[in-house]
Symmetry: D3
Subunit: 275 residues, 6 copies
Amino acid sequence: MSFQYLRITKPSEYVAHVELNRPDKLNAFIPALWVELGLAFKQLSTDSDVRAIVLSGAGDRAFTAGLDVVSAAEWMGEMANLPDVARRTVYMRRHILGMQDSLTAIEKCEKPVICVLHGVSLGMAIDVACCADVRICSSDTRFAVKEVDIGLAADLGSLARLPHIVASQSWVAEVSLTARDFLAPEAQAVGFVSRVLPNKAAALAYGLDMAALIASKSPVAVQGTKELLNHGRDHTVEDTLKYTAVWNASAIQCDDVQAALMSGMQKTKPHFTKL
Amino acid sequence: MSFQYLRITKPSEYVAHVELNRPDKLNAFIPALWVELGLAFKQLSTDSDVRAIVLSGAGDRAFTAGLDVVSAAEWMGEMANLPDVARRTVYMRRHILGMQDSLTAIEKCEKPVICVLHGVSLGMAIDVACCADVRICSSDTRFAVKEVDIGLAADLGSLARLPHIVASQSWVAEVSLTARDFLAPEAQAVGFVSRVLPNKAAALAYGLDMAALIASKSPVAVQGTKELLNHGRDHTVEDTLKYTAVWNASAIQCDDVQAALMSGMQKTKPHFTKL
Amino acid sequence: MSFQYLRITKPSEYVAHVELNRPDKLNAFIPALWVELGLAFKQLSTDSDVRAIVLSGAGDRAFTAGLDVVSAAEWMGEMANLPDVARRTVYMRRHILGMQDSLTAIEKCEKPVICVLHGVSLGMAIDVACCADVRICSSDTRFAVKEVDIGLAADLGSLARLPHIVASQSWVAEVSLTARDFLAPEAQAVGFVSRVLPNKAAALAYGLDMAALIASKSPVAVQGTKELLNHGRDHTVEDTLKYTAVWNASAIQCDDVQAALMSGMQKTKPHFTKL
Amino acid sequence: MSFQYLRITKPSEYVAHVELNRPDKLNAFIPALWVELGLAFKQLSTDSDVRAIVLSGAGDRAFTAGLDVVSAAEWMGEMANLPDVARRTVYMRRHILGMQDSLTAIEKCEKPVICVLHGVSLGMAIDVACCADVRICSSDTRFAVKEVDIGLAADLGSLARLPHIVASQSWVAEVSLTARDFLAPEAQAVGFVSRVLPNKAAALAYGLDMAALIASKSPVAVQGTKELLNHGRDHTVEDTLKYTAVWNASAIQCDDVQAALMSGMQKTKPHFTKL
Amino acid sequence: MSFQYLRITKPSEYVAHVELNRPDKLNAFIPALWVELGLAFKQLSTDSDVRAIVLSGAGDRAFTAGLDVVSAAEWMGEMANLPDVARRTVYMRRHILGMQDSLTAIEKCEKPVICVLHGVSLGMAIDVACCADVRICSSDTRFAVKEVDIGLAADLGSLARLPHIVASQSWVAEVSLTARDFLAPEAQAVGFVSRVLPNKAAALAYGLDMAALIASKSPVAVQGTKELLNHGRDHTVEDTLKYTAVWNASAIQCDDVQAALMSGMQKTKPHFTKL
Amino acid sequence: MSFQYLRITKPSEYVAHVELNRPDKLNAFIPALWVELGLAFKQLSTDSDVRAIVLSGAGDRAFTAGLDVVSAAEWMGEMANLPDVARRTVYMRRHILGMQDSLTAIEKCEKPVICVLHGVSLGMAIDVACCADVRICSSDTRFAVKEVDIGLAADLGSLARLPHIVASQSWVAEVSLTARDFLAPEAQAVGFVSRVLPNKAAALAYGLDMAALIASKSPVAVQGTKELLNHGRDHTVEDTLKYTAVWNASAIQCDDVQAALMSGMQKTKPHFTKL
């Protein structure tokens, strides 16, 4: 599959690097971009040559400036032409659900995703980053849950996911209701990112190293870990324990356990079959 | 509506200020106070002249010292006169549910609520503050989940809401089981409050400014944001995404989006119709 | 009941101290150890002479090094001898559910449990610690969610419980996917432990003091608090409020409320009947 | 409290009879009627002179013909005057939630409610009847989930509650999507009503007898039974068992158990204290 | 879109008829068939020329005989070639999830689906039929939850959906555990089908008439009804009421309400804009 | 294990028959009986010589008359001696949870359970029968949800499970609130039992035949079916589909599929390895 607004590379064994690639527009989101993003992660999900993924933005200035308002005016206009409120609502509901599905593909991707943020990271930047497993950023990152400033509640996942991701609900409410900027140290203090690096290059390097480390582990173990963490967020502990028991009762019969134990004792690098 | 134990003022456009107003008793809670509190927030919820609310305590010494034990002895006595355990239990269950409903009115209020704590803030102070969207405090605030020290598990929401609000469950268990005091810096470190100001006046000023900022935004966007954050706490991410899509498919058809975008480009203050 | 791999003592009134007691093997888990652990906490749960419990590891070097791999090879071999995949899966599912149940007994124990970690605290150490109410550690503690390094997703509760316990999901994903070590200050920063003490002796002393403090409170209040915090983790706020109202409507009729209020006014130590 | 559109009588000891009382308009629902209905059931809920309630429609022709369309045109017009879609949506959402709350008061009423249907029973008739605990009807009853025929999905509870109440989801979908009439025998066959009587008088007599029978039992037992059945509909079996254990652990300490056992042995009519 | 194993026609205005079209193989399911089925219903879901759908099987002998075992042997063989249990499990899990998704497309299709069964209707026939809104059959239909007879628990939805669809859980367990046949009258008695017609032609005619009736109603009302019934199955009543209020607050602003009311008064056939 | 109040036999290969065996007391429940019942089903759950279980009552007169009131008076007295309401409530809560656990062991037993009722089947008879997978009865069975008549809401599962098991919630409410008797035909009409046989001997023979039929099927398939039906009752359809996919992805790799297909083609009796 080839993409117009994404660049996908393979910087090291079993690691994929996905870049939002509209740098002249600060990687702002047009429909083609989010559709490609969804397709890319659906494909990577079952690509047995990939075990960990880094997601970042092309260019020096922005991870992404969020929704492209010029483009948005177009489909808002299309909606406005519909005959009545109910039909416009149906149009918009399908549209929002479609956008949500594209972003949720990152979360549902069977392989872990490390999101590297830098520079301008507003609005949809937060929605997208919330779908990743790990978030790190450069020290120049400027974040905002920006939607209130365009007259809207954030509808692509920030309000649904952010409260599960960080420490303080008082902080979540404050940044969501005021749309104020927050910077890298504040993002780290509340746990939104787990590390701040001096600049984009350093952040990307750190992210790629972490991806390479994860990719060197058993893919059965790594993908099971992502699945079970995801399951846990939306179920009771008891439910997740039960689901885990069924999951691992089968996974434990793989060759990776033996390979991992062996290499642990022999201090060698284990080899794991593709998955 | 006029209140005996609350003072409600309008310090700036679209901002309401609610004060617990029994300062000679450290704003301790008697039935009339919590009933008035519930009624006030139910009324403010649909008052189109209000877009953000600050909740604080009158006087210099306390946000609130919690339940008024003299008053509590009265209704405990009323209960004790009932003929058997089941009838006393029914009486108390209705009583507790009534108190919970009064406090939950703060959470259900369609407008955001900023709780400003200072001085003595014990027992019901925590229950009440947990119902607000944002919490800030002055540096002299003394907090405690105090109920264990009167032989009871906290039943007005602290145990139900606190774990969702802050970072560390180990900390929640510790302060709930020991009833020990904690001070402003600790409250901020765990994320219970999102800011500490030097004194009550500064905290109140900060809270009123934040309320004014929120009140200057689109009420459609702000009230939607509160609703969706509340929904997210008690549902799966998938459920909240779906609810969000239905919610915003209609909300996006309001005039506020256009007004917000316009004023953003023209650097003017947008005007939003009442809601 | 007497135990081979646990030591249970009564260091002060109403306080029990449970030690994992295989120090020569770094308290690594063999089946007999987790079975005893489950039985001990089921028994302590209704022992009216116990009001708070401290859980720690014997010896200087480790809280626990996790699963004993020599012992694990045995039951893995037993499984491998079964005739087909489905039968091996059933065997393993029952095995995992059994291990989970043993650890969950700590969480279900009606009395609060303070886990004191020190030294090597890997793999099952995290699963076990996540079942306690409060976690503290010594400054030499070395933690890791280690399972990925043996080719497995953690299946005894770390992935199900850790995200509910700490602040940052980005951090949870990182340590779970990389299996990297983390030390005491990092554990405190994310809220996994609520205090770090200089060494094991100091940590244990601190834990025993906290247990004694909790044991001096009304057992009706303390045990209700644990139950309601546990309930809240896996239910909506509304559900927990309702459950709380039914719970406390009866609990409030106990003698402890009067005893606690009296001793509060008279500055005496209250006496509470056994529970 | 006195009502304009309801008639409330006390046909026998501890039994209340509530009648929709706009017979000249086939008991069609105007705002005042549903508001009164909600208030009445909230009041009856804690009236210790009432232990069972019968709900029926005044006049010979209808339980209720559903929403009064003349009246509806008024508040639909009020909505239409609002400035934009979002504000009209907020208006309507509050309106619908208000109607739902009025009807849900029947379900939340602590005393059992027996709904007796006869004649025209369309649209809101189903919404209302679904909130009762028991439904019986006369043989001339004509039912329909009528909303689709006025361009709407039923929004006052029929679609939410009907599937939980009857046997066949294929049947529920059919009558909800086609808005076709169904008669008493079909209503009984699918389990919507549990009995069909020859005419309104017989149905009412049967309902009042059942109410008198229920009112002769222990109110602790009866009200607990309603609460636990309601709880079970919306929770897992495990949750309901746990809630039940807490509920009954207190309820079992009442005097009614002794009174019931005694009267059972002595073949006398037990006396139960008010609740 | 054109299909190899499906036939899709438009027998009347706004009605689509989808036929499983492998009659020489008793419409047994091969991968291409379920993939096409999923695609077809995803497409029909937003096709504004379709307002109701009938699903049936081509030929005289069978709705469908279920899974094609010859074809199944192929992908079972593919799985068997994978290197270890965990990798075979991942392969099968993705395979089963893919099959489930194809069938679930029927349930998620925004338009109501009437399933007409006849003749042999085994195994996957039940899984498929459970995804429809309404089920009817001819008197010669022979049903079975057949999977136990091929050594498997049914995994495409019968065990998940059947208990929600019919009356008696004792019956569900019996037919699922014994894999015994059941005939049309029994299917109707338990509520699995809502009508039995003498033969396939009559059943199909009845289904098409019902579809035409539904297609003549407001599509806003009909599609809202399906959505809300689906929502109700998997949520609490309270959740569904809230979701319903948001949904209808917008839907009620459509032109269909006026059109429906008008035509009702004027006894004319209403015209509804496409949706 | 040997039992005093149960008789356990092996009437045919892989079939166990459990009888409540206190016929002179109409199999009324004393603590020893429910404890034994729980232990027996926990043991049978993993006994690889058992694939299906029939549960019935010894003697001609009763499945069970319910709770033994003489015995109940004893532990009620023990409770009454405790010092205050909270301590009595804790005692009773543990007691009720213990009784619930004993009965729930029937539901959690990995093997299907067919409950055969006859004669007097009151109170706990319903609680117990609701835990079985299939219920059949003789024509002389007299049922009642009897608890209200002894001043209590049913707390051992009838109120939690019955609404999920039968067709009409109106009927459930009626029999639970009035405590009236219902006979075999009514029990079958609402779906509580799936078959009525002329007398106890015929019912038992029918139950044992059904058990033998189930025991002749693949135990992997049968036990998976029970597990997935149980899971479905308490989860959303989507959750159950996902759990099913993980479950079957492993189960499908067993030898039973091949054995079942072969014997199906060769018309021979398949042999399945123990489980």
